[in-house]
């Protein structure tokens, strides 16, 4: 996993609530057996005017000029701001894979669906929760200033705005540690292999029916 320390990037606004993972990456693209290459189909149904197909060339497809990521002012954006309950619905990790593959490193929203939130951290993508009022302020700032960029400092847990404001944010200590170091948490869990074996042995003893084959 890519480590995340400090990131500065252009902000793109996704001004709708309850953006679901079907919207982030429609189901036909879930047929891939890879982890990469989902970026061109991020927000496919909003981004293009036709229906996308997996494994197809997207370069000649008609773009929806009204969609935010198609507007030149947001070219190269790597910070996405969104409204409440971002990432609801399906557990597909293809959603953070698509955001990351497109170039996003940070999402900022008032709230997220639990599974999506969790999936982001496994993929070097930082989901930040800020109050609705602060997020709303960011939407206004972005629309008012072309090229609006934010700097996100994970170590300090601060967002730095162009007008030198510091916005603090919360992040779970363990997730922060993994993200800062780019750690894959399987390796960390396996450091506790003895504890797992001990628990398992006790469980096999007390609840043997959980270990039956069909």
């Amino acid at each position: 996993m890519k480590a995340f320390t400090v990131h500065t990037g252009i902000v793109a606004p996704m001004d709708r609530a309850n953006v679901d993972t079907d919207m982030i990456i429609p189901k036909q693209f879930l047929k891939s057996i890879k982890r990469s290459g989902f970026g061109p189909n991020l927000f496919d149904e909003l981004r293009y005017l036709d229906e996308g197909q997996p494994d197809a060339d997207n370069s000649g497809r008609p773009l929806n000029p009204d969609f935010v990521l198609n507007q030149p002012r947001y070219a190269g954006a790597s910070v996405l701001i969104a409204r409440e309950n971002f990432g609801c619905g399906s557990s597909r990790e293809h959603a953070p894979w698509a955001l990351e593959d497109f170039g996003f490193r940070v999402v900022i929203a008032p709230s997220y669906a639990d599974i999506f939130y969790n999936n982001c951290f496994k993929n070097g993508l930082l989901p930040i929760v800020l109050s609705e009022a602060v997020v709303d302020g960011l939407f206004k700032a972005v629309s008012g200033s072309e090229g609006y960029a934010l700097t996100i400092d994970l170590e300090k847990q601060l967002i730095l705005t162009p007008d030198d404001q510091d916005i603090p944010f919360e992040v779970d200590a363990f997730r922060k540690y993994c993200l800062l170091n780019g750690f894959d948490d399987i390796g960390l869990t396996l450091q506790d292999a003895d504890d797992i074996r001990q628990y398992e042995a006790a469980r096999r003893e007390s609840s043997p029916w959980l270990f039956n084959a069909g």
Binding site: R16, A17, N18, D20, D22, M23, P26, K27, Q28, L30, K31, S32, I33, K34, R35, E45, E51, P54, D55, R83, E84, N85, C88, G89, S90, S91, R92, E93, P96, S111, A113, D114, I115, N118, N119, K122, N123, D172, A173, F174, D184, D185, I186, T189, L190, D192, D195, I196, Y199, E200, R203, S206, S207, P208, W209, L210, F211, N212, A213, G214
Partner: protein
């Protein structure tokens, strides 16, 4: 000291190790695998040179991509026309073969939708932790199990370590007391709940369904409710253990027998929330208030009752929902104030991990019996949840009832719930669907989904528009 909730107990029983930062290593008793969210997890194991921690904790079956016509299914995986879908199913087969994981392959009668197969096999048992790379894993909580969906990285984590790193959630109780009216099912209850608390109402919570109406509900009804806990934002849905749970589990292939059964029953009896347990939040609902539900919009919370009209902007709770309503009217081709019974259907889908079990099919068949699908309906599909559900339905003659009424009787799979196979809606088509999500494009590009119970879907197929199943 206050008593414990069912979730508190299940959590506590599975803690391997608590960490200083408030997270815990939680042991996973069962992982279900399917073809869509597992290939990258197996690939991760291979790259890292890791082996599955405990093979017999895993059970796999392909479901999302499998075709549902008898002709295509005849030749198993070779019958999958779409080459991209085929690769995914072939990959699951080869991964399970390579790592030694039990898989019910396409030609196996036990194949089906993971969330139907697990309970049906007794592979889902009370007191277990159950995970799967699918958000509808909450279904298994109906067995007083702690079950939730995970992403692919966590699928790999569970394969490699048999554990997950978790933070304890909050306790939410949905208490439904009283008696459900005639024709009101678990589907109507859960849609009613989502209508009240919203799609984010359960975020961060483990949601237990309790109250007298739940106690008298069948396992199928309970599974339908827990299945859709995620549509209210709760990763976990649960129902306490009781005689109905035991009755369902007994005699299934993976279920304990003889002395182990008695041992298990003694342990399972405690899988209830204590009378003095404290929940962070309680939502009380009167069963008598629940009417047949129909979603009109593009989020499960955009739901109303069969006798109502499409809500107006004045009904929205805030500006975000107003904006959502406006987009939904446009996408769904509906007007505020329009009667729900005036919505005409192009297709009908009875199936999915929400509603494809034997009781669901019986309820739909009851309505379909001796009637005909309206000529204006292009297609009405019935897709059983597993090969065993299909066989049971055929033994009861339900297939004949459906076929005579003009429904198509298909092979098991996820089918039109998310249209990863050939079963999908055309642009602009309205569908009465027993599935779980009415998101934009979910059932096909430009498709318009209305979520309902199996009986409501069957009635809509016959009438060609939504009708009140209580008056049918």
């Amino acid at each position: 000291m206050a008593g414990k909730t069912l979730y508190d107990k299940l959590w506590q029983q599975h803690v391997v190790k608590e960490r200083d930062d408030g997270t815990a290593l939680i042991y996973i008793d069962r992982q279900l695998l399917h073809e869509v969210t597992s290939p990258q997890a197996f690939e991760g194991l291979r790259i890292a040179g890791r082996k599955p921690w405990r093979l017999d904790a895993n059970l796999a079956t392909p479901d999302h991509n499998v075709p549902t016509t008898a002709v295509e299914r005849e030749s198993g995986v070779d019958g999958i026309v779409d080459p991209v879908s085929k690769i995914q199913v072939v990959t699951l087969d080869s991964n399970c073969d390579e790592f030694g994981i039990t898989e019910f392959k396409m030609k196996d009668q036990r194949q089906g939708i993971v969330h139907v197969v697990g309970p049906e096999q007794g592979a889902t048992l009370p007191g277990m932790t159950v995970v799967c790379g699918d958000s509808h894993t909450a279904t298994h909580g109906a067995f007083a199990a702690l079950a939730h969906g995970i992403g692919t990285s966590e699928v790999e984590h569970v394969l490699a370590t048999q554990c997950l790193i978790q933070r304890k959630m909050k306790n939410l109780l949905i208490k439904v007391d009283g008696e459900l009216g005639k024709g009101i099912t678990g589907k109507d209850v859960v849609l009613h709940v989502i209508g009240i608390i919203g799609t984010a109402g359960g975020n961060g919570c483990a949601m237990e369904f309790g109250g007298s109406a739940i106690r008298s509900m069948s396992m199928e009804g309970r599974m339908t409710m827990c299945n859709m806990a995620i549509e209210a934002g709760a990763r976990v849905g649960m129902v306490a253990f009781d005689e109905i749970t035991a009755e369902y589990v007994k005699g299934r292939p993976y279920a304990p027998t003889a002395a182990q059964w008695d041992m298990a029953m003694a342990a399972w009896k405690d899988l209830v929330s204590d009378d003095d347990a404290v929940f962070d939040k309680v939502v009380e609902i009167r069963a008598e208030d629940i009417k047949p539900q129909v979603t009109w919009g593009t989020s499960p919370e955009m739901v109303t009752t069969i006798d109502a009209t499409v809500p107006t902007l004045d009904d929205a709770r805030d500006s975000a929902q107003r904006a959502g309503f406006e987009r939904a009217y446009d996408y769904m081709g509906l007007a505020a104030g329009q009667k729900i019974t005036d919505i005409k259907l192009d297709r009908v889908f009875i199936g999915s991990c929400t509603n494809s079990r034997i009781e669901d099919l019986r309820q739909a068949a009851d309505i379909a019996k001796g009637r005909q699908v309206a000529s204006s309906v292009m297609q009405a599909l019935v897709v059983p949840g597993s090969g065993l559900v299909k066989a049971q339905a055929e033994q009861e003659g339900l297939d004949k009832i459906f076929i005579e009424a003009g429904f198509e009787w298909r092979e098991p799979g996820c089918s039109m719930c998310l249209a990863m196979n050939a079963d999908k809606l055309g642009n602009g088509e309205h569908c009465a669907s027993t599935s779980n999500r009415n998101f934009e494009g979910r059932q096909g590009y430009g498709g318009r989904t209305h979520l309902v119970s199996p009986a409501m879907a069957a009635a809509a197929a016959v009438a060609g528009h939504f009708v009140d199943v209580r008056e049918f």
